[in-house]
């Protein structure tokens, strides 16, 4: 659509998104009514002005010619009448002639003279010379007599020679008045013609522009989605052309035909809109149903995962504790089997941790703690974590931090980079090299983990971030992981507002990268290094609260091995009572979340905080549901997720022991 839709639009260039047929934009200005107005008025005005100017000029010329001719005629007439009298010097006769010439009123003064001193004048001399126009005529006998044949043979033609001069003076006042009147009449006629043309063209332009404006408004309404808009433009007979009346349309007004076509188009659009609305409603209903089903399925999956995780963790936790208890006392024949049991329990724990991590990320219960992170420190930690493994795999690790810092959650970032470095070490062959480099890129810092291993085929590149998807592990060797690492990394990266990019080719290695906002390295807060004490746990007073007798027994056995003083309680109420006992002095409280008789472990934790403020209250739970995790996070408790690795528990208790020593 190129034409403007409203008459008040000053400049409406053609829309660039809707090019015209020849590719060039057609620029229009003003309005159609104004264009039609100009189209009509300008030629009319030009013709009217030209004709008026021409007629006025002719009229003025005619007046001028008539005025001059009249004056000249009088002069010649006087000259003709006075020829013989002037020849004879008959002054009375000349006076009579001059007076007779004045009687006509055409001239105001007449002068007859010759070179012999004859001078006869008649008429008033009062008029100023500026208002008079003079006409002269020579007095010749020949002209007067018309009798050239009277001249004798060989005689000089005396008749050709003027014998005097007649001067007639006309007053130009009336002539000037007539000129002015003619001029004003011309201007008046021109003005009348212009006004008539203006009125007629304005009427015509309005007649043409009004239906077009109405059509334009209708089209605009259609464009705005109001498909019930119609052009009410009909012919003078009030009859719109019917469908298929092509023969009848030829004789009708084009604008009426256009309006009729637009009305038909609007009807069709309205019909299609209704149909599409119906289809959209149906499709929306289907989509909503499927979405509800999907949500239901997701909820079911989450519940399944949470329940499975919890129900699996309980026995696995107990099993791990028992195995750790059995290992020191196992015979040489039993020891390999116990070790295999311990390895299997550890793998199951790792699997459950990963599942719990994914569940947490999907539940969006994690809130990243954004801070300025020094990449040098980050890479140092990573180097310490992976240095031994890399050395064992004969893989060289190279770190290029370039002194950069980023704004991110340091723990989550450490998790991502560590997972990528671990994968790189795994997939680099011996004598391989893993390069972790950071470089500044457009206000951001790009961290890249590159190896020169076997690389990833393009067919796998799009799927390696899916859960449980592993390349070249069709036998599902659990020692190569469960295929959840990259899925967790992708979720953490999304939580940090970035994404992990991959560039890889077979036999050319792989490069995983992510971009993070740059931070000023000088603003990085140095962490205070906590001294890790490895002091013995002997004498540590511990209370274990769990409704599962097996767990209570296993935990008692383990803690006893570590020379701790253990008190086991099976219910929350009992635990609370014990905590309230003034004789009780606890260093550590290990409490299950879900206790028997619908008792809540959180209440025990709260009581311990209140009654034994110096004790370390640790909640041990296998619950991985989003609601539970959210509640625990809000409670700010120290959480150990079942199954708890004995080493992890020992490390936690060691920090407590170290923390108590100064006091």
């Amino acid at each position: 659509m190129i034409a403007p839709t409203h008459d008040l639009v000053v400049h409406t260039p053609a829309r660039p998104s809707e090019p015209s047929a020849d590719g060039r934009a057609v620029v229009v200005g003003g309005s159609l009514q104004r264009d039609l107005f100009r189209l009509g008025v300008v030629p009319c005005a030009a013709v009217a002005l030209a004709l008026t100017a021409w007629f006025t000029h002719s009229r003025l010329d005619t007046l001028e010619a008539a005025f001059n001719a009249e004056g000249q005629a009088v002069a010649r007439q006087v000259a003709a009448m006075s020829d013989l009298s002037l020849y004879a010097g008959d002054l009375p006769a000349l006076q009579n002639v001059a007076n007779a010439a004045l009687r006509g009123g055409q001239v105001t003064r007449v002068e007859i003279s010759n070179s012999a001193g004859v001078f006869v004048t008649a008429g008033s001399k009062a008029a100023p010379i500026g208002q008079l126009r003079m006409f002269t005529a020579p007095v010749t006998l020949r002209e007067a007599s018309k009798a050239t044949a009277f001249a004798p043979e060989g005689a000089t033609a005396a008749g050709d020679k003027p014998i005097g001069l007649v001067q007639a003076f006309r007053d130009t006042t009336g002539y000037a008045r007539e000129r002015t009147r003619s001029l004003m009449a011309g201007i008046g006629i021109a003005m009348v013609a212009l006004i008539a043309a203006w009125a007629w063209v304005r009427h015509t332009a309005r007649t043409v522009a009004q239906p077009l404006r109405r059509i334009s408004r209708t089209v605009a309404a259609l464009e705005a989605g109001r498909f019930d808009a119609r052009c009410n433009v009909v012919t003078r007979a009030g009859k719109a052309p019917a469908d298929g009346e092509d023969e009848g349309r030829r004789g009708q007004h084009e604008l009426a035909n256009l309006a009729h076509d637009i009305n038909r188009l609007a009807e069709r659009l309205q019909r299609n809109r209704q149909q599409s609305d119906q289809q959209v409603r149906e499709a929306t209903a289907v989509a909503l149903q499927r979405m509800a089903e999907a949500e239901q399925a997701a909820l079911s999956r989450a519940r399944f995962l949470a329940a499975a995780s919890h129900d699996l963790r309980q026995p696995l936790h107990a099993m791990g504790l028992f195995i750790d208890g059995l290992l020191p006392t196992a015979s040489e024949a039993q020891r390999p089997a116990v070790l295999r049991l311990q390895e299997g329990a550890e793998f199951m724990g790792v699997l459950l941790d990963d599942l719990l991590e994914i569940s947490r990320l999907d539940a969006q219960v994690l809130t990243p703690a954004i801070a300025n992170v020094s990449l040098a420190m980050l890479f140092d930690q990573l180097g310490a974590q992976h240095g031994a493994r890399a050395a064992a795999s004969q893989v060289r690790l190279a770190w290029r931090d370039r002194g950069l810092a980023v704004r991110s959650d340091p723990a989550l970032l450490l998790r991502i980079i560590g997972n990528l470095v671990g994968n790189a070490i795994t997939h680099s062959g011996s004598d391989g090299t893993v390069l972790v480099a950071a470089r500044r890129r457009g206000g951001k810092v790009r961290i890249e983990v590159r190896d020169n291993g076997v690389g990833i085929a393009p067919i796998h590149q799009a799927r390696i971030f899916e859960e449980f998807y592993q390349v070249a592990n069709t036998e599902r060797d659990r020692r190569q992981g469960f295929g959840l690492g990259l899925a967790i990394c992708a979720r953490i990266a999304a939580l940090l507002g970035t994404r992990i990019a991959l560039r890889s080719a077979l036999q050319c290695g792989s490069a995983f990268s992510l971009e993070l906002p740059e931070a000023d390295a000088r603003d990085v807060q140095r962490p205070v290094a906590e001294p890790v004490a490895s002091s013995p746990l002997a004498g540590l007073r511990c209370m274990v609260v769990d409704d599962d007798p097996a767990i209570l027994d296993a935990t008692r056995a383990l803690l006893t091995q570590w020379d701790c003083e253990v008190e086991c309680v099976a219910s929350g109420s009992e635990a609370t009572r014990r905590l309230a006992d003034p004789e009780t002095r606890l260093d550590v409280l290990l409490c299950d979340l879900q206790l028997a008789d619908a008792e809540d472990g959180m209440a025990v934790i709260e009581a311990a905080r209140r009654l034994q403020p110096e004790a370390l209250a640790v909640l041990v739970s296998g619950a991985t549901g989003p609601e539970s995790l959210q509640r625990l996070r809000q409670g700010g408790v120290t959480l150990l997720t079942k199954p708890v690795a004995p080493a992890k528990l020992r490390a936690l208790l060691s920090t407590r022991r170290a923390g108590r020593t100064p006091s």
Partner: protein, 334 residues
Amino acid sequence: MFVNPSSALLRGLRAVAGAVCAAAFAAVAQAAGLTVLLADDNAAHAEFVRLLRESQDASSRFELVRLPGDGTPADRVVAGEDRANAGVRTRSLRPSIPADAPVTMAVGVAAARSAIERPGQDPLVLAMLSRLDYESLKGSPAFRRGDRQVGVLLREPAMADQLVLIDALLPQKRRLGVVATAESEPIVRELRRAAQGWDLHVEYAPDATSLASVLRLLVPRSDALMVLPDLIGDSQAATLSVLRAGATAGLPVFGTSDGLVRSGGLAAAVSTPGQLAQQARALGQKLAMGPVAGGVLVEAATPSTVRVNPNVARGLGLRLPEERELTERVTAAR
């Protein structure tokens, strides 16, 4: 226009006429009675009558009789010893008519025609007649009555006087062209008689309004043109035609009247009303003194002056003698 003398000229001539009349009538001891018949209001005739009355002796009787158009006497104005009554209708104061030689004078052709048809024995003077008037009256049977002395005074001078003037002005030019009509024959005959030694060309026009073809023939063969006191001379249009033809061709035109000279003629020997009055009175005396041969005495006017148009002379490139000198030459020739 051509026959009306200007009043200024008449005023000048009035004194001259009075002196001449006094000298002429001083020898006449007796005072004759004069009856003047006037039948029209012609200004020249009125002037003539006025001068005639002024030259009348105080002791003699002067009776002015105004005739209507049909010639019967309508009223009389008598002037005589009481000069205070001059010009006043005095029918009741009719003086006694002197017994010695009363003369009747008719002024103009209308009065002349009435006078000759009236019975009476008194000598009759027909004054202020043109030559054609005289010719028309001459055919009348009452004109030649044996019992009455008739004198005719023509108002124009004789053709011989005009020829003398032409000779004085153009001594080397002898070719004189004359346009005439059939009625002009008596004047032409007089001109031919007087034009001895002249190369006279006379062309007759069918009438006074058809002069162009005649003038076309005449002008190339003439050194000067002459307008006769005939139908052409009496017609303003015809006279102007001749004058324009002469002016166009560079020929001088001569005439017999003052008006013709003023309208474009070169010169004319003219007589004044005073002169005519004196001549008429003398003619009456002649008739009163005795019978004349044939009963009719015809006299042409005696030229008293010469009129010259200096503008025309300048236009023609002529150097002319003064009017006084020319007048002397014309009058001396008589």
